[in-house]
Every structure is written in C-alpha cells, then in structure tokens.
Subunit: 194 residues, 2 copies
DNA sequence: TTCCTTTCTTAACCTGCTTCATTTTCCCCG
DNA sequence: CGGGGAAAATGAAGCAGGTTAAGAAAGGAA
C-alpha cells in the first residue's frame, strides 16, 4: 500500500502485473530513518538498493585529506545506494546519510538477483534506469570540465530546484566541487548582476 | 568467425548458446573504418552500439567556445557509442572518431530492442556492463573533484597503459580536463622528481 | 632527402578558486 | 525574549592550473 509510488515509478518504464507487484512487495522492506542516520557506511557492504518514498539523503565520501565530497543527493522517487559496492558486494567507498527523516523501500541484494529471474521485466527496468543514470553521470563529467562554477550552479539550480530548497548551501558547494565561500561569492554576483 | 572476441567477452558475464550466438551474429554487422572516420557525428542520431574488434577511437564534444573535450577512449573489446543519443534515439551531443583504422561490430538500435526480447540474457548482459560503466563514470566525477591533475594523470596511466601508448598527449590532456601545456609540465615534474 | 604538419616543450604572465580569519545572520531551545 | 551554535557572508592573500606565444622535435608525404 505504502509502496504505491514505487509501482507507479516502475510503471513509467514497464508496467507490472498484479502477481509481479505482490511478488515484489514480498521482497521489499519499508524502513524509516531519522535525520542524521546512515543508510550505507563506508567500509560496510551495501546490502540494499533503496527507493526513496519520502525524505532527502546525501551520498558522500571522505577523501585522503579528510574532506567531504557529495556525490549525489536523493529525494522522493529516487534510487540511492553505493552501486559499486552493491553490485560487487564489496566494502563501500561511500556513505549515504539522511538529511531529513526519510522512508525508504529497500531491496536486498540476494532478493534482487532472484527477482531478476522471476520478473524479467525488472531486469529491463533496471537496465533502463541505469542507462539514464550513466548518461547523466557522463554529462556531469563534461560539465565539470567545460563550465565554470557559476554556470554549473545555475544548471544545478534549474535542474534540481526541489533540492536547492532542502539542503544547506555548503552541501551544494560540495556537490558542485567548490568551496562554500566561493559559492557564496557566486550567489552574491548573481544578485548584484541582476 | 570474426566475432569471436565479442562472444568471448559476453561469455565472461553470461554464456550464450549456439542458437543465441547465431541469432546475434545475424544482427551484427562488421564494419571497417579508416583513421579519421566518424562513427557518430554530433547532430545525427546514434544508430549503433559498437563493439571494438580492433583499433582505437575517441568520443568527444565541442563546447560553446569551440574547445574539444574528450569524453572517453575505446580500444579492443570496449563498447562505444553516444549512449544518450542511442537509448533515446535523439540527436547526438558527441562525436565518435577513429584514431586508428578500426574494425567494429555494430548492432542497430531496432535490432537490439528485438534481441532483448529474443535473448533475455542480453538484457542482463547490458544491464551488468552499464552498471559497471556507471560506477566508473561516478568514480571519474569524484577523482576530478578530489585529486589534483598530477594524480589524475598517474591514475589514468596505470589504469589504461594501453591507451597512453596509442594516443597523442594532447588528447590525454583533454581527457584529463587540462591543457596540453600543463600536462607537459606535469610530465616534466615527474621525470625531474624521480 | 626536403618540406610541411602535427605534437611536445618552455617560460612569463594571468585568473578562478582556495584558505583562513572574521563577522553577520539565522534559528532553535531554555 | 534572549543566548548559543550552526550556517552564510565577507575580505585578504596565496596557489593550482590556464593562457599565450614561440620554438624544438617528430612524423609523413613526395
């Protein structure tokens, strides 16, 4: 019942039958997390693929100098995990932490492997969404090379307006690959310039 | 016959039966390209997914200032295309061009959609390789943020030693997101420093 | 060989972004 | 309502990496 948004999301790519939905439901665990809680921790193996029913999360990692770098955000109707860790079931490089109280639909690795066999459509579904994720990761590489920080910020802002409202500025700076001070300067320029 | 490397590659993830191989063979076109030839051109729709049987290619795009940015290289046993264009059959942002005479195994978009239905294993196969591609694209985002140019270069060098030998330095600089002059400076530092 | 094009190097100067230190704003809780 | 802690803004000084320009090597074609 609470899983409705998940089925709706999947149906956008490939609709599931009643039986498929109930099989999937039996393998999906709904779990609530508090603000600040970790869904994945660096060093642990990422056991779940997570669909965000509500809330907001960040995926980040800590570099050798102790600096935090935000890899991605996730809000309602997004998937999040440390995919590298999940697919190879090896220790995670990343952390996934809740920025707000959040409700996730979790699918365990072993269950997903079985689901791929029982519901071939799911294989297709995940192929398609990962293709899209890959394309946008590639775009991000490109943008980082060819756009100055100000334009990356503007692009981020109109691509993810929901996110800009919900997370503090210094995290957005981290996501953009700049310091919070420089983002502050950019924002000031934008206000003055207009 | 000439497709042997492709089947061997696929078999690393999920082996195909004889029939599946011959069905796939019937849909794959082997095509030779000369050095300098374009496999995908910006503005055209990318019609093929390409498996490199031999040769070396670059994927790049031209930014608003007319600057070329190399997105990826591809050598033997790699896949290459403008995936964003291919999956949505819309005009390509990228160009794919041969840096050497190359032989590609090409699968047409419509044929691939049919193959997904006829050989469900292929759906699995592509899901898996795209998962990997996504993870490494994400790693590249991360590295660009947290590593200085010198370390990115070192990492590139030991990750893709085959490529470093085959392509000119200024293209490696472009791939790394720096100028050829700066790469030259880095290389000099490395020689001196050792 | 010679000429011409492509690639690589060196060096001087410039700039986007960082760092660090300080101040201001905001907002949560007693 | 007022104080304390986090987040945001400001400003100065420094540096990684970019730009420009000019020349040296290294290939190819003829």
């Amino acid at each position: 019942m609470e899983l409705h948004p998940l089925f709706e999301y999947i149906a956008k790519f490939t609709p599931l039958t009643e039986e498929e939905q109930s099989l999937l439901t039996s393998k999906v665990k709904i779990r609530k997390f508090l603000k600040g809680q970790f869904v994945v921790q660096n060093g642990d193996t990422c056991k779940y693929e997570n669909f965000v029913l509500s809330g907001c999360l960040k995926t980040f990692y800590i570099d050798n100098d102790g600096q935090e770098h935000i890899v991605m955000f996730a809000v309602d109707n997004w998937w999040t995990a440390d995919l590298g860790s999940f697919i190879s079931q090896t220790p995670a490089d990343f952390n996934v932490q809740c920025l707000e109280n959040s409700v996730l639909a979790q699918i365990r690795f072993e269950d997903l492997q079985q689901l791929y066999l029982d519901i071939p459509k799911l294989e297709r579904f995940f192929r398609i969404i990962i293709e899209k994720a890959y394309v946008s990761a590639q775009k991000r590489v490109i943008n980082n090379f060819s756009l100055p920080a100000k334009e990356r910020y503007l692009k981020f802002r109109d691509q993810y307006p929901q996110i800009e409202q919900r997370v503090p500025q210094y995290m957005i700076a981290s996501y953009l690959g700049i310091t919070k001070e420089f983002l502050s300067k950019i924002r000031n320029q934008l206000i003055m310039g207009k």
